[in-house]
Symmetry: C2
Subunit: 378 residues, 2 copies
């Protein structure tokens, strides 16, 4: 047994999970999932060993889809799919569906690490025009909508609503209303109110706000399916998935079950997207205040108007001090505060399941840490 495990038994901690993803999940939901590991409700079998063709699992899928439809007030012309391969596979599936031989390129915004990945994959499929890039500035701000050279003839327009690595989030929906709008909402889907009807396609992997890794939600309008070319690998074609209502092949049963539980929690315990947005705004406001009031001890990375409510990215004066911060934080039960491996620094992710209490504990720790390590501390 390793030292960490021994320490854990000697001194149980109340853990607070600020991981960038897979992230925190609601505690009550974990207990239900635990019971289902022994027996899916009324099924005599573990949720891990139950057929994906069972009536029980069809009901799980239907409930998950129903919650998403209700939360977003989705019209019938949208399909709700639960697929594998994460958002990374969507980076390819979107252009495979929409970028086959049109004369006009797709227009993409390059606002951070993840939109960069989406652009690279789309370019393997067809012509892509990057209409704005924050790369030379190190992705610290977002473009002003009125200055974007948006083309009414574009095959489609793609953006990432929240850049998880750099901590940038669009306060409004960019793009033209007369062009197909596609968004990667992996890290802020269902964290706030949303008019989904302004999009032809939204995708979001589960492991930020919705559930465990291994499943991605795709909301796709009927006219996108009608545009898809024939001859695609079936798994990369939205049509067979839509026709089979997310059971084209064996789906990730447990990940979908947990996602359904989280959606049920969001709708029934939290009360929907407006309520969730209110909580998320309060959490982010509290943490950014702790940064802004620190007199430069904590340094927010993003321009204030582009700050993400989901991923608060900040730093300290030196990487040595950041390492000290992380170690002390872990000792207090505050986990997952490392910045993304590509840029370092610190990051607190405040996904739906992170409670206001956890953010308070973090802010208290930050004030205490500053009092002990800041030049003007205490």
């Amino acid at each position: 047994m390793r030292a960490g495990a021994i320490q854990a038994m000697e001194r149980p901690l109340e853990a607070h999970n600020f991981s960038g993803g897979p992230g925190a999940l609601p505690a009550a939901m974990l207990e239900t999932a635990r019971e289902a590991l022994m027996e899916a409700p009324g099924q005599h079998l573990s949720v891990l060993g139950i057929s994906h063709r069972s009536d029980w699992f069809r009901e799980v899928l239907d409930e998950a889809e129903g919650h998403i439809r209700a939360l977003l007030e989705l019209p019938d012309e949208y399909h709700v799919l639960l697929l594998q391969g994460g958002s990374t596979l969507q980076f390819s599936m979107v252009p495979l569906a929409l970028l086959h031989g049109p004369p006009h390129p797709a227009q993409y915004l390059h606002t951070g690490y993840w939109s960069g990945k989406a652009i690279a994959e789309a370019r393997r499929i067809g012509p892509v025009e990057v209409v704005w890039s924050g790369e030379v500035e190190g992705f610290r701000r977002l473009p002003a909508q009125e200055r974007l050279p948006l083309d009414a003839q574009a095959a489609y327009f793609h953006y990432v609503s929240n850049e998880t690595v750099e901590g940038l989030q669009f306060p409004d929906v960019p793009g033209r209303e007369d062009v197909l709008r596609v968004a990667d909402m992996s890290s802020d889907f269902l964290s706030q109110a949303l008019d989904a009807r302004r999009f032809c396609l939204i995708y979001a992997h589960a492991q930020k706000n919705l559930g465990p890794s291994g499943v991605v939600v795709v909301i796709v309008r009927e006219d996108v399916l009608a545009r898809a070319p024939d001859g695609l690998p079936s798994m990369l074609d939205y049509r067979p998935h839509a026709a089979a209502r997310s059971i084209y092949n064996t789906p990730p049963v447990f990940a979908i079950y947990v996602t359904m539980l989280v959606l049920r929690w969001l709708r029934e315990e939290i009360g929907g997207l407006e309520a969730m947005e209110g909580i998320n705004r309060a959490k982010a406001a509290m943490l950014y205040a702790a940064i802004d009031e620190s007199g430069g001890f904590y340094r927010g990375r993003a321009a204030v108007e582009a700050r993400s409510r989901m991923n608060v990215v900040f730093g300290l004066a030196s990487s040595a001090l950041e390492a000290c911060f992380l170690e002390e934080a872990r000792g207090e039960g505050l986990f997952g505060l490392e910045g993304h491996r590509t840029i370092g620094g610190l990051r607190a992710s405040l996904y739906n399941a992170v409670t206001l209490d956890s953010v308070e504990v973090l802010c208290d720790f930050m004030r205490d840490f500053r009092s002990r390590h800041g030049r003007d501390g205490a």
Copy 2:
């Protein structure tokens, strides 16, 4: 609450899971997985909310890979990958890697439902020659190796080692030693001894013998990677997955963790592939004996020499009697005995985690059912 759930509380059953997949998992492993839902060992966080970039998860992946390497005595020239998308995505990834513009087609055997799916997907990518098909006979037997018109110039040779739907399993490895051999082993991987060095690529989704749905094991030799063309969607290219050692994008953390636990069980509790094969042979022998001794009451579907040890497919004189069998079986705690929805009938899947005791209970039930419903019963 539905009637089924009430009944379950009134009369708890010892459940026996004969599902075709997702299938049974070892009971002790479920308890460990349950604990990890609350806290991954020594990590303070739920396995569902822990970073896939954590040292802990890297150790989980390394252990899973290590067990597979040890069980199969795999040389270093093979990569062991744990991917998403199931075997269905492999139906496309294999030809994308190996069927790009060669003058000679790939040769496929069409031995049942799943090889038919593999063939249809490969044909979307490149030229495919079906060198044998059991379709007109309703997939009741397998080809004799010496009669197959195998081409030394074939791009590769593909077969499905066990046809889950029809209950057919190759007793030997077909194909030429001088042609790249690819096998879909989804439903019998690690159920028996195997000389993996005779294959350039083996794939197997987890939900039969290895774990829950949502993860597929791919064993791929280095020279396959070297042949892959550039420009593939990254998620469909084995090379980035191999370079990132199965963490190219966020993997299905929980499904991989459970798979690792099952692999540990197979190696440490069961004692490896020879021991597992011995148990599986005993289970299948017992059940086929119950069928063969029934005087035609139970009717095996496959030719005797092609019988699967994993999926015992059989029927009764009428579908009404089969429905009665299934209902009575469920009442005795025997679940998942429906045949595949495409062919109906009955099927008992005897994956690694199904115990000899469970098969005994099934055989006892079958004898009893026959004594009550057979013309010459009792």
